[in-house]
């Protein structure tokens, strides 16, 4: 589904990513982990098109995405949630979700300005769908509140609902559990599991090991911009290079 091949990125003299390759199959939840500064978010920004890679290919399905602007990648079915929540603060909860629906407007560019019955029909339909997504993430009944007024955990859910409204095939989640308490993390895991049957494949950056080990089918480990391990959670847990990257090497006794 998503294939990253030989991806490299340098910022001036700093090599953020070196020859990163991995693939995510349809219907998988893959975790992207690694110590701080390993290049995880940079990797997301490259997949999203927010940064151009120095080298490498990124394929979604059969489409090569390098060179496409972010909004074109969104049209291919790519969505994203952010590490620091990025809601549209001047809008209500419902409007945030409706914005996610931007890609799927059936009404033409000019027709949208006219008082046509099809416009109001499409509006009612969009609203119904948006409310469904809000219900799914557990924000039912809060649609008319200003997005900024939501509690932190609810803002995380809203970001997910907004991404779902894009009806993506592939969702990048950048530390979805950051700042959540253990209960909220559990709710989040339950929600993420509900996404697979919707036909959404997930690539997740996360530090919360309960979530990573409990949810991910496979894990890719980055350290200093390189893939140092990839595989099933139980193998990753035991991989000496991963342990070293996280905990450091044990000095030999003299």
């Amino acid at each position: 589904m998503l294939e990253v091949n030989g991806l490299s990125k340098s910022f001036g003299g700093v090599q953020a990513l070196t020859d990163v390759s991995f693939a995510v199959a349809a219907g998988e939840i893959v975790g992207l982990i690694g110590p701080n500064g390993a290049g995880k978010t940079t990797c997301f920004n490259l997949i999203n098109g927010l940064l151009p890679p120095s080298a490498g290919e990124i394929r979604l399905g059969s489409t090569e995405m390098v060179g496409l602007p972010p909004y074109r990648r969104a049209r291919l079915g790519l969505a994203r949630t952010f590490q620091n929540i990025q809601l549209f603060g001047g809008m209500t909860v419902l409007e945030n979700v409706l914005t996610g629906y931007h890609l799927h407007q059936q009404v033409g560019v000019f027709a949208a300005l006219l008082p046509l019955p099809m416009v109001s029909r499409a509006r009612a339909e969009n609203r119904r769908l948006a409310l469904e997504f809000l219900e799914l993430v557990g924000l039912g009944g809060k649609e008319d509140e200003p997005a900024e007024a939501l509690a932190y955990g609810d803002q995380r859910r809203l970001e997910i609902a907004r991404a779902l409204a894009q009806q993506p095939q592939f969702l990048l989640m950048d530390e979805p559990a950051a700042g959540l308490n253990p209960r909220e993390t559990e709710d989040l895991m339950a929600l993420m599991e509900k996404l697979l049957p919707l036909g959404i494949t997930l690539l997740v950056i996360e530090h919360d090991m309960t979530l990573v080990m409990g949810l991910c089918h496979r894990i890719v480990v980055l350290d200093h911009g390189e893939v140092i391990a990839a595989g099933a959670p139980r193998d990753i847990r035991r991989d000496p290079r991963v342990i070293e990257a996280y905990l450091g090497r044990e000095e030999d006794e003299p």
């Binding site: 999203n48 994203r80 001047g90 931007h102």
Partner: protein, 290 residues
Amino acid sequence: MTAYVLHLAILAGIYIILTVSINLIIGYAGQVSLGHAAFYGIGAYASALVSLHWHFPFPAAALTAMLVAGLCGLALGLPTLRLKEDYLAIVTLGFGVIVDLVFLNLEFTGGPDGLPGIPPPSFWGIDFRPPWLYLILVVVTVILVLIFTYRLVDSYHGRALRAIRDHEITAQVMGINTPAYKVVVFTLAAALAGLAGSLYAHYITFINPETFGLHTSILILAMVVLGGMGSIAGSVLGAVILTILPEMLRQAHAYQELIYGGLLMLLLIWRPEGLLGRGKLSLKFLKRES
């Protein structure tokens, strides 16, 4: 007295069009423009020139004004709208100054003397010379502009614009073609300002560069900020108040400007989001992203 009130009402109508148009750029798309009066002037000159030289009837002249101003907006917007706030402010400011200088120095714009003898509108068998008839023409135009902008900001395009204002990167990631939206809204706003210019030129029947300088750009900006960014009703209110207020302060003579400026400052301290603006976000572009 009535003639004076009619005159103010006509000017207020023209300012409403200007304010509503720049509000699309500032209040909805979250971009900056400090040179909006340039498009107002371009529209006025374009409309005056085609009427004087080629005897275009008013509707055709007004359309020409919109087209020329819109094209200038497109030409300015295409290369510059990728700039961030502060830089865009400087570029649009520079554009305003340049256009003003062009009006001042070109032969066919009449230089500092401007263009006199612009014919008042007369079409469909109606002579719009009497001020009350001209007021009707302005009011009808304002209503059409308001209907158009209301429908625009109320549609999914309006939501896309607000998404760009709140978080441009996120808007892109969500599939909104942000460069296209910014250029289109800039072009539309320029065209509407051109329409206002046409209405002004054929009303006063004489134009010179003085009307379209930086102070007018700032005045339009003040109207939007006062009324509330991102609110069309606010733009209307802001335009009306700032057309009438200076006139009401006329008795204060020397203190007119002082009181005017003081009132504006007090209002913005008391209600920084403007009279009808929503939330604290309306002034966001003046702050730096943290």
